[in-house]
Symmetry: C2
Amino acid sequence: MQKTVIVFGAQGKMGQAALKGLSRHHVVSASRSGNACDYKVDITSEKDLKAFFERVGRFDAVVNTVGYCEYANFLDMTDTQWRTTIDSKLLGQINVVRIGAKYIADGGSFTLISGILSSKPIPGGIADATTSGAIDTFVCCVANELPRGIRINAVNPTVLEESWNVYGELMPGFQPVPGSLVGKAFERSVDGFITGQILRVDA
Amino acid sequence: MQKTVIVFGAQGKMGQAALKGLSRHHVVSASRSGNACDYKVDITSEKDLKAFFERVGRFDAVVNTVGYCEYANFLDMTDTQWRTTIDSKLLGQINVVRIGAKYIADGGSFTLISGILSSKPIPGGIADATTSGAIDTFVCCVANELPRGIRINAVNPTVLEESWNVYGELMPGFQPVPGSLVGKAFERSVDGFITGQILRVDA
């Protein structure tokens, strides 16, 4: 069945990976810059999200691939760096669900993004790891109280082949996976019946 | 060996439980109100923590039992309620480690508090659960990068018998445990050699 699926961060590497799994669906794309997307939305802004959901009309699923993180050694990481990471990767994603839940169709689904650093930590990745762990827990718990048959899952991927040139040097011993494989996890969340699951994609 | 152990939240139910496991040690007690404690410290304030660690002198271990959480159904929980919870239970505890790590003795230890709701969710507990999951992940990951042999663990307890009159009604089917058992977990963290561990205490 074709669904209308909102994709936040559609122009990013993870957004492009998600889109590979959503080709049968009608995608509404959004990003902070709005470049090459249908809408310009900053998920850290409740106001932006409310205005967006008011405008976009009926939709069946939301896929969020946005989660900006600061990277630094723990002892060097400032309060501001922690807050910037929490505002986007944790509270931004919570905003998407909290506000989007008022607008999404019955039986709709949310798919959030966490990441492998919560279980395979690397130097500099503590804020990414901590907020990823928070999102994994959030998804498992909040699934129990979403109304109207609404589902929620998180995709927890390792690094993408498409991002290896940026992150590879920081991640010795990690095996990147193709975006198409991560796209399958988004597809399994959107097109399946599972809820409260962490879909880990690792090699 | 007797150690000097700082206990934040020493007058709370969880602080009292921790103290049961620390009877052989020299305890320096602190809390936000300062009532019946050696020091008045708000862990959400970097300034408070810096001033406190400057004053307190040499110490071997920090036990934090403070983590204020807001409780509400997810769809009713406001951004302010999320931020209040994150400021205390997540960023407050991170502050304790980030700032305290500059002052703690070589081979010292930090013991933080998370909680059972991250693995056994209840209605209204989503912010507690999410920040507890974040702390569990934080502890597992940051243990790899603390310098000078500093250790870190989290105690993840179920509800205390001593708090059952307050929380019992909200937690049907949970079995409370005595504070003395939770005190054992704090003792095992402070007096042992483990690091990066989640010490779950459940019946």
